[in-house]
Amino acid sequence: MKYILKRIVFFLITLWAAVTINFILPRMMPGNPAEVMIAKFQGRLNPQAISALEIAFGINTHESMLAQYWDYLGRMVTGNFGISVSFYPTTVAQVLAQAVPWTLGLAGISTVIAFILGTLLGIRVSWKRNSISSSFAVPIAFFLNSMPYFWFALIVEYVFAFVFGWFPLGGAYSSSSGLSGLALVWSVLYHAILPAATIIITAMGGWMLTMRNNMISVLSDDYITFAFAQGLPEREIEMNYAARNAILPSFTGFAMAIGFVISGVLLTEIVFSYPGVGYLLYQAVLNIDYPLMQAIFLFITIAVLVANFIADIVYVFLDPRARSGGE
């Protein structure tokens, strides 16, 4: 299981890099931007909060960079991200904790659905390469894949929420109080349909094109012809011979793809005022709330890393060559 050990080491290195970027960025910028922020909130924050911010961003301090860094790492490990200035006096950790479940739910479920649907479509389209539906599906996928998520979200919202009024304009659940039990669940689902559909439809195109390309390249492999020579049923060849192998590169390219999807989720949330991490990030940006931004960035990085790690593990199970060491 050296492979998994290697992935864990990489996970830790990347996490460290993300944390360090967070530390260095504000200190690297001309005229520490945090000073601007603190000056802006002067009067609205109590002096204690301000001095905490000063420590966090290395302003008015005589400590060496290294000491600051050490201090900072310590705070990161304990989950102490400081106080949110836009939601003062709530701590960043608390603010984040409220948003995280929404994003995890929305992004998690829709990404998985998009991946499965896109991959299945990619298999189909390449297997029936010369059919009419395939020749339509490919250009459509190209277009979907090139759409800005937020724009598609806007259009979807306009058409289905505003013009037809079938779905709510935004939010995560009905604000009418007293909802509980099944009614609440229903309300949550109802509010999630449009944002989820946006993410699924846009992300699906990319997965489909990737899978289609992988499939086409696998289909010219000798073991496919050999499977035909053996008189195996088409379905068996399509799934267990072609698709089983074609899906492997999807996992190695997962890192970049998931980054794209996450970006899309953030923007979609903003359009639908969905109270997740993306919407929170938007508010942090509007209010120049650096501590909150940093914590969100760190959270997203960790989420992506975990997703990647899971993809790596799945890959090990799918590819026996990875299991027995080697690359």
Partner: protein
């Protein structure tokens, strides 16, 4: 080589090139094509489409069609320049990592993988939130910073296969210098991949720029498709029923992105014999 000919004969790239040229023409001749000055606020605000204003007017009374036409310039420039910078960085990193190998390779590839995994848009958002003075170059810089990693990785693996080709070994045995081997034997043979990568990076740049502008993190006084969308969203264009205001610039972003993506795929298809079959 005859790849150039094949490129124009390929259906995907032909469509991609046509869309791309359309935007180039739009960008170059914007002053002549656009009916009004994009900054002129001389019109009645928040008007729907009419013969005078095909796409209506903004909240401060600007002609949206003129803005969209002028906006082509910025989107195109950001796409091309950022794609170019990201490609140059990927080529440098990919070539040195693949050719030199050893410890250099290990270090460069770890850095590349980190950049690959750290989610791009949030990082872009953080960086541009920290940068106080904003302009087109800030955007280009920030997007290039996050857009090179994938290219570096694919180019490196290409270098590794090319490095093991016998003709590279033959050049070494003939007595060629490393520089000559890299620039005469390796680099020219991976040009198509570099080109494909450029298109890929350009798609990424166009979409990221639009996202940044939409969040108000760009230069909101500049005229680009992203800022038009930003203003449309901020003025709740859709709720006023002014859907053209948001629909058209977004559509153009998608089309430009698609034209780059089509050209990217076409180059891939032409140079990867397995995809070319049939």
């Amino acid at each position: 080589m005859n790849y150039v000919k094949l490129f124009f004969r390929n259906k995907k790239s032909a469509i991609g090139v046509i869309i791309f040229l359309f935007f180039v023409v739009l960008a170059i001749f914007a002053p002549w094509i656009a009916p009004y000055s994009p900054n002129s606020m001389a019109f009645t605000p928040l008007q729907g489409p009419s013969w005078k204003h095909w796409l209506g007017t903004t909240a401060v009374g600007q002609d949206i069609l003129s803005q969209v036409i002028w906006g082509t310039r910025l989107s195109l420039i950001v796409g091309l320049i950022t794609g170019g910078i990201a490609t140059v960085v990927s080529v440098i990193i990919g070539l040195s990592s693949g050719y030199l190998g050893g410890l250099t390779d290990d270090i460069l590839m770890t850095i590349t993988n980190i950049f690959l995994v750290i989610p791009g848009l949030p990082l872009i958002i953080i960086i541009s939130a920290f940068i106080v003075v904003k302009g087109i170059w800030t955007i280009i810089f920030v997007i290039s910073l996050t857009g090179w990693a994938w290219g570096a990785r694919t180019l490196r693996s290409q270098v590794l296969t090319l490095k093991n080709r016998d003709y590279v070994k033959a050049s070494v045995v003939t007595g060629e210098s490393s520089a000559h081997v890299i620039f005469s034997d390796i680099f020219p043979n991976m040009l198509s991949l570099v080109v494909a990568n450029f298109f890929g990076a350009a798609v990424y740049a166009v979409l990221s720029e639009a996202g940044l502008e939409f969040l108000g993190l760009g230069d909101s006084s500049a005229i680009s498709w992203g800022t038009i969308l930003y203003w449309a969203q901020n003025n709740q264009a859709l709720l006023f029923g002014l859907w053209e205001w948001a629909a058209v610039p977004g559509l153009l972003i998608a089309l430009l992105g698609m034209s780059f993506a089509l050209m990217n795929f076409a180059v891939d298809e032409l140079t990867n014999p397995r995809l070319r079959k049939r």
